[in-house]
């Protein structure tokens, strides 16, 4: 039981923030951002006693509306699978948060606090496995609706999601090689450091010692800087997995009405809608943990921060401060990644379906394989094949 209670608290914390706070606010951000980009005012009508709060009450109004709507199951549909599909789509997305670290390891005297729900050795494989289950939500919803638009949508979805899963996995193999681990918490610790950009000149003996100011040019040891191509490809793949524009072929309004969830109404539609937004948060949290240093503050490693503050306030306060700052840093980075996804979603038009598949199989798959080979060669050159 003593192990169970902290795990439950950590689970409640991350779900309350991601599902309870981030997801509803993102629905508002999405409306407001599209309004700004299309020169409109955007959501501003929902009010309680005349107070609109900039339209922030719209998510609340949405939930009320969806909960009170009739839950329609079309004639000839498979009732059980039609009801179950939104759950199959939503649960894996929420379960992904289990292995994402939103803080490091902190020692308060006897007790240690590790800010991750499950610190799995195969953390990233867990996320891939969970994400592959989410495909069924889309595929089954289309088939069980007894509607041709839905079926076309889920056929597109299944092909698109399987294709991009392959490239998604391959695009971050280089990252595993760079950090030598699959454990997300270890990756975050490895990124809590920095490296000298021109340090390789010294390493290979091309220059004896770098002149002072050149040696000061440093970059955080983030996946983004070690694997820039991997970052771009991984973000593209996970966004394609999420099926939001520009990869919204399975639900393309102009072609398929609403794709695989055409026949859904009420809260079952709401679950599809919410799981899409929760997945935006998952993608942001995952790319933060993998490529943006997780909870790490750039150029300020954990020991340095605690060492600098503890002489003044004592170790306990310093560690607590460090923990709070790390969690805030993590969520700040998550917000930046959400902003980036929103920007992409409202900027790029939807390509044709064959173009989406060509991008995956003919461009990104060879590029990701090349990325692996080049990364392996560079690591071999730097370590001399000893590690």
């Amino acid at each position: 039981m003593e192990e169970l209670l902290p795990a439950i608290l950590k689970t409640l914390f991350i779900i309350a923030i991601a599902v309870g706070a981030f997801a509803p606010i993102i629905t508002w951000v999405e409306r407001k951002q599209s309004a700004v980009m299309q020169d409109r005012i955007g959501a501003n009508r929902a009010d309680i006693a005349g107070i609109t709060l900039l339209g922030l009450l719209h998510p609340l109004a949405d939930v009320l509306k969806l909960l009170t709507k009739e839950d329609v199951v079309p004639r000839g549909a498979n009732r059980f699978l039609h009801m179950a599909a939104p759950l199959i789509a939503a649960i894996p997305v929420i379960a992904s948060f289990a292995v994402i670290p939103y803080g490091g390891l902190y020692e308060f005297g006897e007790t240690t606090i590790h800010l991750v729900v499950a610190d799995l050795d195969w953390g990233i494989l867990y996320i891939f496995a969970i994400a592959s289950i989410a495909t069924y939500g889309t595929v089954i919803s289309g088939w069980a609706s007894n509607n041709n638009w839905s079926l076309l949508g889920s056929l597109r979805a299944s092909a698109q999601m399987i294709s991009y899963e392959v490239t998604m996995g391959l695009s971050i193999v280089g990252l595993f090689m760079a950090f030598q681990t699959l454990r997300l918490t270890d990756m975050a610790v490895a990124q809590d450091a920095s490296f000298r950009l021109l340090g390789f000149l010294e390493h290979f003996g091309w220059i004896q010692t770098l002149p002072g100011w050149l040696s000061w040019i440093q970059l955080p040891n983030w996946g983004l800087f070690l694997q820039p191509l991997g970052f771009v490809m991984f973000l593209t793949c996970v966004m394609a997995e999420n099926k939001r524009p520009p990869f919204d072929l399975p639900e393309a309004e102009s072609e398929l009405v609403a794709g695989y969830f055409t026949e859904y109404s009420g809260m079952r539609f709401g679950l599809f809608y919410m799981s899409e937004f929760i997945e935006v948060v998952v993608i942001a949290a995952l790319t933060t943990a993998l490529f943006l240093g997780g909870w790490a503050i750039p150029f300020l490693p954990q020991e340095t921060l605690i060492g600098a503050v503890s002489p003044v306030f004592g170790t306990g306060v310093a560690t607590g401060l460090c923990m709070v700052l790390h969690v805030l840093t993590f969520f700040l980075k998550v917000i930046v990644m959400i902003w980036l996804q929103m920007q992409i979603r409202w900027t790029l038009p939807r390509p044709r379906y064959d173009q989406v598949m060509d991008l995956c199989w003919k461009i990104m798959l060879p590029l990701s394989l090349a990325n692996i080979v080049v990364t392996a060669l560079v690591i071999l050159l730097i370590t001399g094949g000893t590690s």
Binding site: N78, D121, W122, L125, F128, A129, S132, I133, W143, I162
Partner: protein, 167 residues
Amino acid sequence: MTAQAFFFYFAAALAVVSALGMVLNFRNTVAAAMSLVVTMIGLAIVYVVLEAHLVAALQIMVYAGAIVVVFLFVVMLLNLRSDTFHPARQRLLKAAGALLALGLTAAFLSLMPTALPTVQELPEGFGGYRAVGLALFTRFLLAFEVSSLLLLAAMVGAVVLAKRRID
């Protein structure tokens, strides 16, 4: 009952029930495929209980996540109806299946007392990606490369077959 035993019996029951669901759902191919997915998930839980974490992740990623999705894809494209399976053909198949199941059960029961290994202490990192990767690229390198060649041949064969139909 320990947590391990609980999860084992839970996962085993899940796998058996869903496997039965797959066999008995022959009229509804999509429901049968979904039962197969649940069987895969049950097996993955058993692998986790056995500390074979990598195999568990691959079980879900590859079998549940990719292969059965392709099954579903084909089933949806063909849109099989119940009358596709002729009753006369089914009777023969059922008899063959029952015979096969009986034979397998007999073989399993006869092997069971001797085939079970004694309980051993697991080495450090057992079943993790490091141990499996090291074994694949050192001791089983030849088998690994040969199987990749086999997969390549299968892929080329599939492309040739598909292309002939298009031409």
